[in-house]
Amino acid sequence: MASIDTGAIPSAGVEAKFRICRFTGLRVEANAEALIKVNAVTAVIFLLLGGLMGLGVALTRWPAVQLLPAEWFYLVLTGHGANVLLFWIIFFEVAVLYFAGAILLGSRLATPKLAWLAWVLMVVGAVMANYSVLRGDSSVMFTSYPPMMASHWFYLSLIIFAVGALLAVIIFFATLVVAKAERTYDGSVPLVTFGAITAAIIAVFTLASGAIILIPTWLWSIGLISGIDSLMYKVVWWGMGHSSQQINVSAHVAIWYAIAAMVVGAKPLSEKVSRTAFLMYILFLQLASAHHLLAEPGMSSTWKIVNTSYMMYLAVLGSLIHGLTVPGAIEAAQRRNGFNRGWFEWLTKAPWGHPAFSGMFLSLVMFGFIGGISGVVLGTEQLNVLMHNTLYVPGHFHGTVVAGTTLAFMAVCYLLVPLMFGRDIIWPTLAKWQPYLFGFGAGGISLFMMGAGTLGVARRHWDISLTDAAHAYEFPAAAYLMMGLNGLAAILAALGGAIFIIVIVGTILAGPKLSGPNAKLTFPLHDASRQAVSEYGSERHPKLHGTVVLVTIFFVAFALYYFVNWKYLSELWLFN
């Protein structure tokens, strides 16, 4: 037995072509690289489509503009949700999984033919979903709550997309097995890969929930099942709908660590702590379904409290830990880089002109302050009644998915596109400004929608003035102001999004080639990203004064905002 060593010799018939990346020293396999490129480019196409639809939504909700007629508004809003929340994010996440699996581990991608099949299935599903929405008979919103029924093409398209995505996740797991068997790395997987594994495990749960509910719903839409219970649908559907956002969290936190490592040479403060925080996501984030059922009849308070708190906020604890360890790792690295004066030189002298870094840091700050805090408040059993289904809800998740995930994904493109396509970023000045434009636009969208929601404005609603309503009701003038500001912020974000797409597509097609031996990146990698690091944990006892101050500010803001909402709640009509 001892002589059998399949690990050292690739099994027969497996041929893999590798190149060594000149900038990172990573072993890059041709199939993995091609599939990362194609998934990422597809993602960007759906970002363009969904982003345009989002701009249409925001301009319609701006009372002074009200761009689209009602029918088109609901159609476009359905398409916006599917294209950006599902297609942009999941295509990009597949690229991230292949990167964290094959490239970071220096392995070949398992079963590249199946990986192409997964991509084809996802494209077919995504195109079919857009077709069924644009036909006009599936304006049921992204959530498609029964008994409202969409065209059966709509449910079928999502099922096909989910099957493709699940296949891609399985290929990622298979790649981990290949890398282990062929011994392409030594010891434990890198932290970024660990984060990607977290995302993939949550993805399996998520996609399974989606299948469990969408398959019967599809059968219902073609007449084989007589009815779908609306409450049961919500419980299971949100096992997909909210948990899929936890894939995003795991993926973009992994990207934060990756960017911090590649741009300033940051090492995790402690592998143990960062990995445990990821592990908490796997153990507790799945309970997220309850967040959407806090204002529902029929569920017990006990069920609501346990689930909405992710079992005593243990998954929130995971995010809070990353909220310290990511800036902490950057501070430690920057101090090692020589920016050691005072409490904040590490931050003021950070590479703010490097779009990967600025995008990553804005994503970190806004995900925490806007998306994170509002999420916990919204997901508190009693507080939810203050803002359930108001614009506060999209305000919250634009803080997480747009200002957080999307901005982080954009940021990492500024590093990966030059390395993968061998072309330098084509318009560096535009690229420098892009994260700020998009980041402040997205942050504005979130805050102004949260403001409008606090004033009671409904989400997914065409007419705040209620002109044709059964009984007139007038929202306060401040609500109109919020909707106008939201429209302006959306224009800013759309501008940032457009610049991102122009710069990335321009770079891929016509960026200066990085072929010469002395070719240099405009937005460089940190020297330490090549050298072997003798030990983890930047320094024995790094000073982290700046991070402590930042985290304290965050915690005070969190606690204040939390109690302000309890104060609001206590002033409501009594209902117990």
């Binding site: 609901y74 890198p190 609306s230 702590v273 009849p297 790792a329 009671g456 409904a458 059964a470 915690f555």
Partner: protein, 184 residues
């Protein structure tokens, strides 16, 4: 580095930085506090959404609401039934049961409640899901067809309140409203 395997193979034996450990403790305790505060509010707070729910067929619920509206419709000085925007205004008995129907696209009927009186509110849908969003107090509750949600409601302010549907319910969604009057 985060993109390389940890060079120290026994990374789980490394000590935790004191700042990290301190924050983990603070964050964990804060999580526990928030968790127990939800439970505590059930004892110290007056805003806890009831979970009392009954299965009901939409048509049976429509009949109940119709009977309720007929029995308690407001009468003017001449004994004529009062309507507003073509919808009956209903004055339920103080402290009694109140039935409200959500349907495409209105909340029916209009209710006239008394400030400071606790009512037993019944809420269900005749067709699709709807959202009961009481403005400007901002109380938001989801309405399902087939489920009769029963909760106590005590108005603490008087005036005219709007009910805006905030669960998307098709092309007329933005026309779906209702009204509650609260008198002193």
């Amino acid at each position: 580095m985060a993109i390389n395997p940890p060079s120290n193979r026994l990374w789980w034996k490394e000590p935790i930085h004191s700042v990290e450990l301190g924050w983990i403790i603070v964050a964990f305790l804060w999580g526990l506090f928030m968790f127990f505060f939800m439970i505590a509010w059930h004892f110290i707070g007056d805003q806890n959404l009831s979970n009392e729910t009954y299965r009901v067929t939409p048509s049976a619920y429509e009949d109940k609401v119709a009977a309720f509206a007929e029995e308690y419709q407001k009468k003017d000085a001449n004994g004529e039934p009062v309507e507003e925007d073509g919808v009956p205004v209903v004055v339920p008995p103080e402290g009694g049961d109140v039935y409200l129907l959500a349907r495409l696209w209105e909340f029916w009927p209009i209710l006239e409640l008394k400030k400071g009186v606790a009512y037993r509110f019944h809420l269900s849908s005749a067709d699709w899901q709807h959202g009961f969003s009481l403005q400007p107090t901002n109380i938001n509750i989801t309405v399902h067809p087939g489920y009769e949600h029963v909760f106590k409601l005590t108005p603490t302010s008087s005036g005219v309140f709007g009910i805006v549907c905030n669960e998307y319910c098709g092309i007329g969604h933005h026309t779906m409203t209702g009204r509650i009057r609260v008198v002193e």
